[in-house]
Amino acid sequence: MKNIEVPALARVEGEGGLFIGLQDGKAVEIRLDIYEPPRFFEGFLVGRFLQEVPDITARICGICPVAYQMSSVYALERALGVTIHPQARALRRLMYCGEYIESHALHIYLLQAPDMLGVQSALELAATAPEVVKNALRLKKIGNNLLKAIGGRSVHPVNVCVGGFYRWPKAADLKALLPDLEWGLAASIECAKWAATLPYPELEIDYEFVALHHPDEYGVIEGEILSSKGRVLTIPEYENGYIEEHVERSNALHSHTVDGNTYLVGPLARLNLNNQQLFPAAKQVIKDIGVELPLKNPYKSLLARAIELVHFYEEAISLVNSYKPEGRSYITLKLKAGEGTGATEAPRGLLYHRYKIDDQGLVQFAKITPPTAQNLPRIEADLFALAPQIVEMSHEKATLTAEHLVRAYDPCISCATHFLKLKVENV
C-alpha cells in the first residue's frame, strides 16, 4: 500500500497537510503538517494597549473570535485585579453560547457530517439533502444573530472590553431572539438524536481528558483545570501542568503534560468531565439516546458537539430570560503593572492566555496556547492507533478515514488567508 498523503486538508479551518508513511503494512511515520504562521500574534501584541488586545486576538479565528476575546479579557482583568459586574459575567456566558451555537452547527453539519454520510463535501450534501443543510444554516444563523445582538456584528463582535462590556445590549433585542432560540432548542434535540444514529468508525482511545471545570455551571469561563487523571490546577497554575514545545517540521507548537503524556481538550473532554453541570434538556437527551459516558471515540466528537448544542441553546434561553442590565456595563480600570492568566473553553477546547503589562497598560509579554496546539500530538497518536485498521483498507478509503479523524477534531489552523482563487477568462 502506498503512503497516505493529503497535501491540503479540506474542511479544516486553515491550512494543513497530512502524511502517513507505511512500510510492510505498518505505519512508521505520521505527520500533521501545519502551516500556521509562527506565533505572529504573540509578538504583534507587545507594545499594544491592553484594551486593544481582545479585538486583535479575535482576528486569530473567524469561527471562534469570542473565545480569543474572552481568554484575553479574563487574563488582563486578573492582571489588574478587576472583578466584573455579575450581569456582565452572565452576558459573557450568553455571548459564548452564541459562539458555541454557530461553531458547533457549522462543524456538525458542514464539516464532519459529509464524512459520516459518505459524501465528498457539504456542497454534495446540499445537493442530496438540502433540508438538512438549510436546517444547519438556520441553527448556525441563530448563534450569529445572538452575537450580533450582543457584539454589534455577527462576525468579530466588538462589544467585549477589559472590565466588562462597552455597553449593555438592549433587553428588547435579546428577548426578540427567544422564538428562534426555542426553535433552536427543539431542532438541536432532533440533531442530537440524529447524531446518535450515525455510523461512527470504531476507535477507542484511553485519553487523558482536560477541560475547565466549574462546580455550578458547565465549564466555559473561569473554574479549575481538571484532568481525568486527577490533576487539578488553578488557571494561573496551567503552565505547571501543561508544556508547549516547538516541533521542527511544524510551525505550530505541540503540547504535552508535565509527565510527558499527550492529552485531549475539546468537546469529548468537556462532556466527559462536566456532564453533571449540563442543563436539563441536554442531560435528558443523553438518557433518551442512550449515550454511555465517557465517550472515548474521537469520531464521536460530533455527538458530543450535538449534546452541547442542546445545552447552549437551553442556557442561552435561560440567560436571555434573566437578563437585567443595571448600572454601568464596565468597571473603570486603574492601570498598574502586573501579570495575569486567563483560560476559557473555546468550542475546540481549552484556550489559555498569559500577559504581562506595564504601569501604562501596555503589553510587555503575551502567551497564547490554542486548543489545536494542545491536540496536535493527540491527533498524531490517534492516527497511529488507527493505522492497523486502515492498512487493511483500499487506499482511497484509508485516506478518507484518516482525513475524517483529523476533521473530527475540528482543528483550527488559524490565520488562513481567505482570498479568492480566481480563474480569469476574458476579463
Binding site: G14, L123, R153, A416, H418, L420, V427
Partner: protein, 156 residues
Amino acid sequence: MSNITVIGIGQSLRGDDAVGLEAVRRWREQFNKTASRPEVQVEVCELPGLGLLDLFEGADSVLLVDAVQSGASPGTIHRIGPGELAAFSAGSTSAHGWGVAETLELARQLGLSLPSIHLIGIEAGQMEIGASLSAEVESVIPEVCLEIEKFVTGHA
C-alpha cells in the same frame, strides 16, 4: 428604489488580503453621502464564511470588494458581473473551509434566492502576516473607490 449592499471582505492582518476592507472603508468616508443613503447598506467584514449569506438579506444587488489571485499583476482591478459568477466558483478544493466562492456555491446548490452579485476584485501581491498593503495595491485604492461609487450610484 433598489436596495444595494456593499461588502468589503478580507483579513486585516495579512498584507494585500485587507484591500477589500480598506477600499470599502475609504469609499464610505470619501463618498459618505452615497454610503449613508437609506437604500445602501455597507458591511466591512473579516472572514465572514457562511455568514456572508446573512449579509445578502434584503439586498437586490450586492457588490463584493475583495482581494483575488489570478496571476495578473498586483493591483489589477477585476470587475465581475453576475453572469460571470462561474469565474470565481473554482476554489472548493482549497483548505479554507468556507471561502466566498464555496459559500456562493452552497447557496446556489440549495437554490436559495440570491441577489444579483457583482465583484470588484483587486489582484493581491503579498499576503505576509503582519504586513500592510503593498504599494501597488495601495495605489489603486482611489480608483477602486471611484468604481464602487460608480456602481452604487448606477444601481441604487
